[in-house]
């Protein structure tokens, strides 16, 4: 079966969206966007609830008519094609299993419509793959949510589409099964080389599975890139806050010296690589990830050339592998610090004066014209 799948994949599964947009009356669900998903890649659409992920996916599947733009799959313009003529299959957010058919017939549905032979063998293999072999003769309502979700994946995957669209296919699974299915999906994808477009609002899921992530916000693609790239060099405060956690410190650019920007934030003098600053503006946010910061007692020595901010511990919580501190910095913000539990400094309790320091190369810069809390839970609420 893997052979057939690979054959389907090499037929060309580039998905190219040009200027594709969708409006409902006066409401813009998806702003015109250009997106290319290279053939054989695992592409994740990541974003908060209601940002237009499902709508984008449905336009690729042909279930939603775009207000503008075109959809190309493998070089062929499919914008005007009905869903049943497109070489894509969808795993629906709500599964949409056929209630009157048993699991076997649900999975066999696509094969039967195309008059394929040895349906029985293929379906049995596919059910084996998603570990639902013994459930073949059950009806969907007799399965748990997670099992139904796996049926939905099997029902789409068995058709060897050029592109598989997955709309939060793992949303209903518990953490363990979710991890297991993530690995399983990733394995299938690398094995058969089908293009996967995977919608999720779980940033961890997107980062572990995808080759490329498009972060969506309010109907726009905010930033696109490899997971590590997005994490290290977020282009906006939304991405910085939505992908992992960031400390953003408002600062003024005061000058530059051999590839570094010199900044002043409150009383502190900081630096960051010019190349990692996403803006030319003089008012910036200096960003640094919590795990890049070292925390130490206020009297500790700090090596020359490191960014250094003093403050007081507000809160510390022990979570096993690490301890998370919240520190009120001299610049006024509350900064998060994750410290690995190697030698815990027991003096770092709430109220203790501390010094925070990190390698300037681990800082990134963003334009301070944006909302500082975009993409955090608070901004959405």
């Amino acid at each position: 079966m893997t052979e057939q799948l690979r054959e389907a994949a090499t037929a060309g599964g580039d998905v190219r969206l040009t200027g594709i947009g969708k409006t409902y009356g006066a409401f813009t669900a998806v702003q015109p966007l250009d997106l290319t998903v290279p053939q054989g890649s695992f592409f994740a659409l990541l974003g908060a609830s209601g940002c237009g992920k499902t709508t984008t996916l449905r336009m690729i599947a042909g279930l939603e008519e775009p207000t503008s733009g075109t959809v190309l799959i493998g070089g062929q313009d499919v914008t005007a094609l009905p869903p049943y003529k497109r070489p894509v299959n969808t795993v629906f957010q709500s599964y949409a299993l056929f209630p009157h058919l048993d699991i076997f017939e649900n999975v066999a549905f696509g094969l039967r419509r195309r008059g394929k032979k040895d349906v029985k063998k293929q379906v049995e293999e596919m059910l084996e793959l998603v570990e639902l072999g013994p459930y073949a003769r059950r009806k969907p309502h007799q399965l748990s949510g997670g099992q139904q979700q796996r049926v939905a994946v099997a029902r789409a995957l068995i058709n060897h589409p050029q592109v598989l669209l997955l709309d939060e296919p793992l949303g209903a699974l518990d953490l363990k099964l979710r991890r297991q299915m993530q690995l399983e999906l990733k394995r299938i994808q690398t094995e058969v080389g089908i293009t996967f477009v995977h919608v999720t609002h779980d940033q961890e899921e997107a980062m572990t599975m995808a080759d490329t992530i498009a972060v969506m916000n309010g109907g726009r693609v905010e930033q696109l890139g490899a997971p590590a790239d997005l994490y290290e060099n977020p282009g906006s405060t939304f991405v910085a806050n939505f992908l992992g956690q960031s400390n953003l410190i408002p600062a003024e650019v005061t000058g530059s010296a051999d590839g570094s920007l010199l900044l002043s934030a409150g009383g502190a003098r900081l630096a960051m690589p010019k190349a990692r600053c996403a803006t030319e503006a003089s008012s910036v946010y200096l960003g640094v990830r919590p795990e890049k910061i070292t925390i130490a007692g206020a009297d500790s020595e700090v090596a020359e050339g490191r960014n250094r901010i003093t403050g007081t511990v507000v809160d510390s919580s022990f979570i096993g592998v690490s301890t998370q501190y919240v520190v009120r910095a001299e610049t006024g913000q509350e900064l998060a610090v994750f410290e690995q539990n190697m030698d815990r400094d027991t003096r770092l309790t709430p109220g203790a004066p501390v010094v925070l320091h990190w390698n300037p190369a681990h800082s990134f810069g963003l334009d301070a014209a944006q909302a500082i809390d975009a993409g955090t839970g608070e901004a959405a609420a």
């Binding site: 279930l63 869903p83 049943y84 709500s94 949409a96 056929f98 009157h100 696509g110 058709n159």
Partner: protein
């Protein structure tokens, strides 16, 4: 707060340990319904059963003589009435399905919210006037010089229906076709409403999923929509077929003596001939036949699987 704390422990007491009064509550609640059934269903049934086995006449009084042959005599005398009853109502039921399904489908999937309500009201609007008046109106519609007959005549369609025995003498009134039309019209809402209910419940995503899995629109209908709506089809056909089989108004007003259905026979025996035993026996035969047919039909449709 204290109230719930006190009430909580009673929930864990096993059923058989509960105070008897509490266990009986559901039965007390059933009592009015049971009383209704006994008074208005069981008693008349027993009374009718006994009537059907009596002999005598109105003047001399009826005696219970366990005269079972009334059943046989009634059946052999009125067998064609039975045949016509079931024949006409079967055709009417099929017509109702053919007309009702597309309409219910349109209301459920194609109409906008506002139109949906408008059409549903139109479907039940006929109930605002009496059954009798509506059927009388059909007498005018189908009358010999009316536009319907004239149009059909101009299209030579009546010669066609004449040929297959649905009409006679190039007219509609007093023909089997008129009775079938009347039945179809009068029982159509009983078909549409259950169909609509079962179609309306279908998640539109299922249509999308079928389309996504290479089913053309018609295949989607055949493989997904129709099978899921089968409980509605079963309910609709039963709700149409059963009352139509026992109907006598349509045959009375739109048919001639040769279109009489079993309802007409029962009515005549009860009210004109005053032969109560035969009338009661006919009622029981009708009931038994319908029950038999419904049982076979339900078995075939396999509703247990579907609902």
């Amino acid at each position: 707060m204290t109230a719930t704390a006190e009430a909580a422990p009673t929930q864990v007491i096993p059923l058989q340990d509960r105070p008897p009064r509490r266990r009986l509550t559901p039965y007390w609640l059933l009592l009015p319904g049971l009383a209704w059934l006994v008074v208005f269903f069981v008693v008349p049934m027993v009374y009718q059963a006994s009537t059907s086995l009596q002999t005598g006449s109105l003047e001399q009084g009826f005696q219970l003589t366990w005269h079972f042959s009334t059943y046989w005599d009634a059946l052999s005398e009125y067998k064609w009435h039975f045949v016509r009853s079931f024949g006409f109502s079967a055709i009417a039921t099929l017509l109702c399905l053919a007309i009702g399904y597309p309409l219910a489908y349109t209301i459920a999937f194609k109409a906008s919210k506002r139109w949906r309500n408008v059409i549903l009201i139109l479907v039940i609007a006929p109930f605002f006037t009496s059954f009798l008046i509506r059927t009388l109106a059909w007498k005018t519609i189908l009358s010999d010089s009316g536009p319907v007959v004239e149009t059909l005549n101009a299209l030579h369609l009546l010669s066609l229906t004449d040929a297959i025995g649905l009409t006679t003498g190039q007219r509609l009134l007093a023909t089997p076709l008129a009775v079938i039309c009347g039945l179809t019209y009068n029982f159509l809402p009983f078909m549409i409403l259950p169909l609509y209910t079962s179609l309306e419940r279908i998640d539109p995503r299922l249509h999308e999923a079928a389309g996504d899995l290479y089913a053309r629109p018609f295949t989607t209908f055949r493989k997904v929509t129709f099978p899921i709506s089968l409980p509605g089809v079963v309910a609709g056909t039963l709700l149409t077929f059963i009352p139509a089989s026992g109907d006598y108004i349509n045959a009375q007003l739109l048919g001639s003596p040769s279109e009489q259905m079993i309802g007409n026979a029962i009515q005549k025996q009860f009210l004109n001939v005053l032969d109560y035993p035969t009338a009661a026996a006919l009622s029981f035969i009708l009931m038994a036949l319908i029950l038999g047919m419904v049982t076979v039909y339900m078995r075939k449709a396999g509703t247990e699987e579907l609902v």
